[in-house]
């Protein structure tokens, strides 16, 4: 097959991914790694690096407006991003050191776990919170204006020590598999720490941009980044996300979410079988 077929196919697939990711409320990175590693001829090292850069770019593109509106909080993200970025570096180093089939198996299991988490987990718009001492000491509280409610929302957090452990674990997975970690960040902020849902979604991207940056440099320094994979995918996801945002008003979010879950199950299963040599 001619070489140019692959970047065009990547662009087409990531464009669709960008649309679906916005409609389903997931990051493009979590779809990119399982789908591209399952159906394209690239080695998993390059796909993971591509996944990190795609998740990073999507998060960076959205962060300025979220920060300006107060829907992403630096004070909430900074301490947890520090833990996550250290462990994402470790995850990247371990992922690059392990045999490919072991990483494939672990990736398959992780993707299936993510699908299960997305299927089962609930969300809470404005959890009731009794703040903990560590969260208070770190200044993890604030206020943002919610246009939908037409009022300011004051927020604070709980279970900060447990959150450090959770975000450290999320960092390992992000670095090892090149997955954007919105699927885990949002429930950790919202359900574990009790941050309001909108703030959790906004801050998730900000935190992800720091965590994925750390791991991305490890892949860059190891020579695991191929522009032929990264650039068409980045452009595809960004343009797809713009189209997805326009379709948001007319598409059935629950149907799209079910499609995403089915895709994750198929891609995760394929990664698992590939790792097992089946």
């Amino acid at each position: 097959m001619d070489w140019w077929v692959w970047p065009i196919a990547l662009f087409a697939v990531t464009f669709a991914m960008g649309i679906v990711a916005v409609l389903a409320g997931v990051g493009g990175g979590v779809l990119f790694v399982p789908i591209v590693s399952a159906f394209f001829p690239f080695h998993l090292d390059f796909v993971r690096a591509g996944g990190l850069l795609i998740a990073l770019t999507s998060a960076l593109s959205a962060a300025p407006s979220l920060l300006a509106s107060g829907l992403a909080s630096l004070r909430l993200a900074m301490p947890l991003a520090l833990a996550g970025s250290v462990t994402s570096i470790l995850g990247a180093l371990v992922g690059l050191a392990l045999p490919t089939d072991v990483v494939q198996i672990a990736l398959g299991l992780t993707i299936l776990g993510i699908a299960l988490l997305m299927w089962r987990i609930g969300r809470s718009e404005h959890p009731h919170v009794t703040p903990d001492a560590l969260g208070q000491a770190l200044g993890m509280h604030g206020v943002y204006h919610d246009p939908a409610l037409g009022r300011d929302v004051h927020w604070q957090v709980r279970r900060t020590p447990a959150a450090f452990v959770a975000f450290a674990g999320i960092g390992v997975l992000a670095g090892m598999f090149g997955l954007g970690a919105g699927w885990a960040n949002v429930p950790a902020f919202n359900l574990l720490m009790g941050a309001p849902l909108k703030l959790s979604v906004g801050t998730s991207g900000l935190l992800l941009s720091v965590v994925d940056t750390s791991a991305a440099w490890i892949y860059l320094n190891r020579g695991a980044v191929l522009p032929m994979i990264v650039v068409p995918s980045l452009i595809g996801v960004i343009l797809g996300a713009k189209v997805g945002a326009r379709l948001l008003r007319v598409a059935s979010a629950s149907l799209i979410r079910r499609v995403v879950l089915a895709v994750l199950v198929v891609a995760g299963g394929r990664a698992l079988l590939k790792g097992l040599g089946l």
């Binding site: 300025p64 920060l67 440099w217 320094n221 650039v231």
Partner: protein, 127 residues
């Protein structure tokens, strides 16, 4: 200006610059305007290899050695990629002075610690 606004402003400019550099660099690469270390038609033979084997087979640079290869179409793309992966460092560096000036020592220390981690990752000493 709030530190969040400063961070947002630097991020916005950085992302725009990085994406422009990527689109331009990729055009010069795929349309063969610049010679590539690994031309696109030859990449097919190598992209199924683990990164370590790819580097050994093609002589691709590791660490920051790509800076010496910016005349090659494929490595010109690394300017945009490095900008994307470097914006967060610049943003953190930018917010430390105002945080420290306002006496927010803990927040400034957290930002400084994060900057150190990012610099360690970027430097290549950990890879």
């Amino acid at each position: 200006m709030r530190e969040a606004d400063l961070y947002a402003r630097w991020l916005d400019v950085g992302v725009r610059l990085a994406l422009a550099a990527l689109v331009l660099g990729f055009g010069l690469y795929v349309f063969g305007v610049l010679e590539a270390l690994v031309p696109p038609q030859e990449l097919l033979r190598f992209w199924h290899l683990p990164a370590e084997h790819y580097v050994a087979a093609t002589g691709a640079p590791t660490g920051w050695r790509w800076l010496a290869m910016l005349a090659k179409g494929d490595y010109l793309n690394f300017v945009g990629i490095a900008l994307l992966a470097g914006i967060t460092l610049a943003c953190y560096a930018r917010i430390i002075p105002p945080l420290a000036a306002r006496g927010e020592r803990l927040q400034a220390a957290l930002a400084a610690a994060q900057l150190l981690v990012l610099v360690a990752a970027l430097s290549g000493v950990l890879a």
